[in-house]
Amino acid sequence: MNIDNIKREFPIFDDKIQNNDLVYLDSANSSQKPRVVVDRIYDFYTKEFSNVGRSVHYLAVAATNLYEQTRVSVQRYINAKDKDEIVFTKGATEAINLVANTFGQKYLSEGDEVLLTELEHHSNYVPWHFLRKAKNINIEFAEINDNGEVTLEAIEKKITNKTKIISVSHLSNVTGAILPIKEIVQLAHSKNIPVLIDGCQGAPHLKLDMQEIGCDFYAISGHKMYGPTGIGVLYAKKKWLEDLPPYQGGGGMINEVKKEGITYGELPNKYEAGTMATAQVIAFNESIKFMEKIGIQNIEKHEKELLDYGLEKLRKNNSVNIIGNPKEKGGVISFTIEGVHPHDIATILDEDGVAIRAGHHCCQILHDKLNLPATARASFGVYNTKDDIDKLDEAINKCKKIFNL
């Protein structure tokens, strides 16, 4: 599959949006969906629908097989040792909540520390905050440097003998910084501390190899990986999934239910209570196959080219200030324009079909540190082109003109 023609695989680009060709630069928020994913959902509901893992009729067995095939695809894609290490969730948020809740229940008590970083998304802070309230634990934040990076040294500085788990982002959704997660895991493991990686921004853009990274937990968002909404993945080493208590109770996750007691099901059912987002899981298989067809190396190369081009272009644009300058950076450019609030930028750009995001991007801790209430953010996906960046630059110029800059 040739990446230069990839836009045509995405139906959203077929028609004009508000009389404009869509310039979609909001993939860090959520990616657009290729036709294969959309079609898969339609086909499943129209020709193959049944609930999974329960009934014995033909459709139920076929749907169960399809559902489990996605698990195998995810296992292959991230190089997990065992398919039972793949737990489907409603999103990365639920994946992190699952770990915070179950790990917190079993292993955290008053005075223990959870180590995060200042650039975490709220979804990798709020679930731990619940434990701060419930169990009187402390939350520490490894600091960002002037480039908007979190270094291994910054992590090391905050590790104490009370640190019980480290939970960090793979790739910042604001500065684009790629964290040295392999080194962080090695360091943490040398001190017997498990590590959770928030892979929301990592999984859609970077090669994933759980054996190489070595982390204990890795959270994935399906809808940022060209997949449907309502589906995420928690990768966890089998020893953790066997050791930790269940997260939610309900049908499908049990072994035997009696009045006097309950035993829980085997992996991975133990963590998949109730009817899951069946159609979405099945369609997510198409997203993975779609990315495999393009090749993650090609995706990385393409997005790096776009990033370099975008940075060069925007640096030349007077009064545009780019947030952060990490050495290892993914396809995210957050910026401000002196004299124009990010929300005004976003509204004006939208008028030309240039879709970006403005705000704190669910990273208020980071924005407080940067002393900025909000930023504008352009983020890339496989379908973006240099032409999209030219249009972004032109729209920024229009914005400056309206504000007499």
Partner: protein, 154 residues
């Protein structure tokens, strides 16, 4: 939709150089408001005299051109008015931003109405309506002595 409707000269002017910005001493009513979606916030301070007249009013905060201009124009407009009149203006303004085509109150002069109507462009931008209304809700909260922080999300 036309950006010129949204970003009229008067909005840009008030957005860039907001009037009545900054806290003043001896205020006797105040309230905070924020927009959790975007992080914008505003703090309205006012002094009601014994006749329930707004002697002085100011605000602190940060936000987009629309929210700053709205707070700026609002504070200009309600200074010197009685509490009852202020509430009528607020209701009229919020009604206009949400659905009505024009302002109906007799309290405002025509040129004041024209000024306020410059904010009507946000109607075409549903996501931005909250930017224009935040300071107005916060003013109401200050008058009502509410301890609740006004949020645009409910």
């Amino acid at each position: 939709m036309d950006l010129k409707d949204l970003y009229q000269e008067i909005i840009l002017d008030h957005g860039k150089n907001p009037r009545n910005l900054g806290k003043f001493e001896n205020y006797n009513k105040d309230a905070k408001g924020n927009n959790p979606l975007c992080g914008d916030n505003v703090h309205v301070y006012l002094r009601l005299n014994e006749n329930k007249k707004v002697e002085d009013i100011a605000f602190e905060g940060h936000g987009c051109a629309i929210s700053m201009a709205s707070a700026s124009i609002m504070t200009d407009m309600v200074r010197g008015k009685e509490e009852k009149e202020v509430k009528e203006i607020v209701t009229d303004f919020l009604g206009m931003i949400k659905e009505k085509d024009s302002l109906e109150t007799n309290i405002l002069k025509d040129d004041e109405k024209t000024k306020l109507m410059s904010l009507s462009g946000v109607k075409q931008y549903p996501m931005r309506v909250k930017c224009a209304t935040l300071s107005w809700h916060t003013l109401t909260s200050a008058l009502d002595n509410s301890d609740q922080i006004v949020k645009t999300e409910e």
